[in-house]
Symmetry: C3
Subunit: 139 residues, 3 copies
Amino acid sequence: MKHYRHELWFNVPTRRAFINVTPQIAACLHESTIQEGLALVNAMHITASVFINDDERGLHQDYEDWLEQLAPHEPIHQYHHNRTGEDNADAHMKRQVMGREVVVAVTEGRLDLGPWEQIFYGEFDGRRRKRVLVKIIGE
Amino acid sequence: MKHYRHELWFNVPTRRAFINVTPQIAACLHESTIQEGLALVNAMHITASVFINDDERGLHQDYEDWLEQLAPHEPIHQYHHNRTGEDNADAHMKRQVMGREVVVAVTEGRLDLGPWEQIFYGEFDGRRRKRVLVKIIGE
Amino acid sequence: MKHYRHELWFNVPTRRAFINVTPQIAACLHESTIQEGLALVNAMHITASVFINDDERGLHQDYEDWLEQLAPHEPIHQYHHNRTGEDNADAHMKRQVMGREVVVAVTEGRLDLGPWEQIFYGEFDGRRRKRVLVKIIGE
């Protein structure tokens, strides 16, 4: 069995953003030389997501609006968590809706994705350095 | 290490539906001859889900009602994504709540599921051909 | 390829609770002697979750309040599922928001977690014996 590990680093200048990381994950897979297996891609921080969906700006605006409606950032004092001095409780909720991780099949050395599947880093509390872990196992 | 890949195809006649695919995944596992490992089952489309829950009609009606409340289909023009000519922005949201994929343990050649766990394909924008990927690795 | 399987049992005295299971998963990994691979941790019941987030009491209270707002327990008769004699339809929804499972990378014999990542069992319909499955594959 082969195994591969790599960290992707982000420093998003805004509080929230969606970043297409598919090319970076494909580059990791190429570097791993793994032909058949599973690729795990997960946020290493608990106010960020890795998810798969469409690379369409209007949809990303819809996600932003929808998540803000499900778990509003303000008023900040509505959340117990923010009494610890944080202001990111909403980010911990948004991340649960969008998910922590994706597992992608690796087939014949490629990410085995459907026609419109793209892998995104979802940042909900940016403006600092944060990481995504890529772990691939297989042969 | 052994590996196995199979696609399941669906053409749901309605916009939304939940379909129990557990027997088909069990058949894939049998065909793979893998005894110990992990089975990934994921929607290959971004307006559909694979999830695990109960095979109970009332609950499925509740999911339908609840998801429609969290991310209503109409009015269609409330979503930026639908200005591209689509009418399925809500389906991209419903899918995030229900999830893209499940990873199921394989033990002694069986899907290692709890007593009520059943694997479902969740369609949120049907009436066309769409796929689910089954990838199993192990030995 | 090595493989390891273990069940964790819970009997939560309340309807809902969040329990940090990271030390137990780390003990499983140690017992497995697997150095590189993937660890799947999943609820075997469909009214419970396994998820990764912060071990902070205020945040857990926020999750409790937020999930209750997204999928209220009462009135019980608002859910079709509860006409079967159950009163836990809301638990089936809360579990979908928080997720069934996590997949964690195993690197150099350790759970490859970010600085604040902790693994939780999320109970939404307790007061009875329920299980979590730990399956680790690798070498």
